[in-house]
């Protein structure tokens, strides 16, 4: 499978990072990840799907709020520590003000049946958005160095473990992760030896 490498763009300043992440955060009801993926990959083209999955893998494995990790990694990639802070502040500041305002205005959560119904509907949609994000990103699996079949196998097993059998997420990450990283490591090593053999036999002799 050959894919055309899209022209990538990037943020021009820390202010742009702050503004972009503020806008992302304000659109994220019931989680921001789906919005981050659509906006940064599909619309702004700051990274490819495959790069996004790589970043997300790290963000997910590191402790702490995943989306916050993702933001500071992306911000840090372009502008170092100040970039990381700009992205993280963008993600948190405006939504924090809104959520505090809501807490002050409504005390507890609005208990009216209308508000409850609306929340239910939004919840069902945001669940769909997360599933869709996973499905969209799964199109990167064929290019995985461990091979398409193995990659799909691991994705399905992770889903069955956590989605169906309800094992804690951390066991899937650590348990399955160790095995799949090991398999990938061996696959990459094999590719390297092949490549080294070729370059030593075909390379120019001095």
């Amino acid at each position: 499978m050959s894919s055309v490498i899209p022209e990538l763009s990037q943020p021009k300043s820390k202010t742009e990072l702050f503004v972009v992440f503020t806008l992302l955060a304000l659109q994220g009801f019931g989680g921001v990840l789906a919005v981050v993926q659509q906006e940064l990959v599909d619309r702004r083209k700051w990274m490819t799907k495959a790069q996004f999955v790589e970043e997300w893998s790290v963000a997910q494995v590191m402790p702490g709020p995943n989306v916050a990790n993702l933001c500071l990694m992306i911000g840090g990639k372009y502008f170092g520590l100040p970039g990381a802070m700009a992205a993280l502040l963008g993600l948190l500041f405006a939504p924090l003000m809104i959520v505090l305002a809501l807490a002050i205005l409504f005390g507890g959560v609005a208990d009216s049946p209308t508000a409850q119904g609306a929340l239910k509907g939004m919840g069902a949609v945001s669940a769909g958005l997360i599933i869709a994000t996973g499905l969209k990103l799964s199109t990167t699996l064929p290019q995985n160095p461990m091979g398409m079949r193995t990659a799909i196998f691991f994705a399905v097993v992770a889903f069955v473990f956590v989605g169906i059998f309800r094992f804690p997420l951390i066991w899937a990450l650590l348990g399955l992760g160790v095995v799949s990283c090991y398999i990938t490591y061996r696959a990459l090593k094999q590719l390297q030896t092949k490549f080294d053999d070729k370059s030593s036999s075909e390379g120019p002799r001095s």
Partner: protein, 198 residues
């Protein structure tokens, strides 16, 4: 609810969130049970109802879900100041609660993530670093689908909640097949839900 917190208590409060920061693999929400044990059962700084409504409110408002931690900090501060109606002194304590809880939950994990990412970037050509990033990819993809699945389908009884399933499935299909702005879908879900037919 009125409580009083000494400087030592505030320090404990910060340290508690800071220690949970490094335990929250898979998101801060995974440590919510421990926050409940500490804030509600052990220290009596929050009521059960306030604790639950902090999580519900943060999830229904825009922004990352970790903001439920800020709301807990706010409520503890407000309670320590004698309630919201007690005026600016209580609001000040509320803001202090927000600052301490958010710094606590974010600082340790952010420093670690930032350092680790920097290291990984400098060593991006190492086979082990590449193996880690590519090796985790299928697993985190599988986990994403299960997160959405657990939020919707697995939580609801089919006979009673088939309409919610339908909404989730339609949303999934629309997002995978079109490039429509996600905000429209959320708004549509909210509107349909508000009519009470779900």
């Amino acid at each position: 609810m009125s409580i009083s917190l000494s400087p030592q208590d505030w320090l404990d409060f910060f340290v508690h969130f800071a220690s949970l920061s490094l335990l929250g693999i898979g998101g801060a929400i995974t440590t919510a049970p421990d926050m409940h044990r500490y804030l509600v059962d052990e220290r009596n700084w929050l009521t059960d109802a306030t604790f639950s409504s902090s999580i519900a409110l943060a999830q229904s408002a825009p922004g990352p879900n970790v903001l439920f931690v800020a709301l807990m900090g706010w409520q503890v501060g407000i309670n320590a100041g004698g309630g919201f109606s007690a005026g600016p002194s209580a609001w000040g304590l509320g803001l202090m609660g927000v600052t301490l809880s958010m710094l606590g939950i974010l600082l340790p994990s952010s420093v670690l993530t930032y350092k680790a990412t920097k290291w990984a970037h400098q060593n991006r050509n190492l086979t082990s670093v590449r193996a880690f990033k590519s090796g985790m990819a299928p697993i985190v993809i599988g986990l994403l689908v299960s997160t959405g699945w657990l939020l919707s389908v697995a939580q609801n009884d089919y006979a009673k909640n088939w309409k919610l399933w339908l909404v989730t499935i339609v949303a999934t299909l629309v997002v995978t097949r079109t490039s429509i702005h996600l905000l429209w879908l959320i708004a549509a879900g909210g509107l349909v839900g508000a009519t009470g037919i779900l």
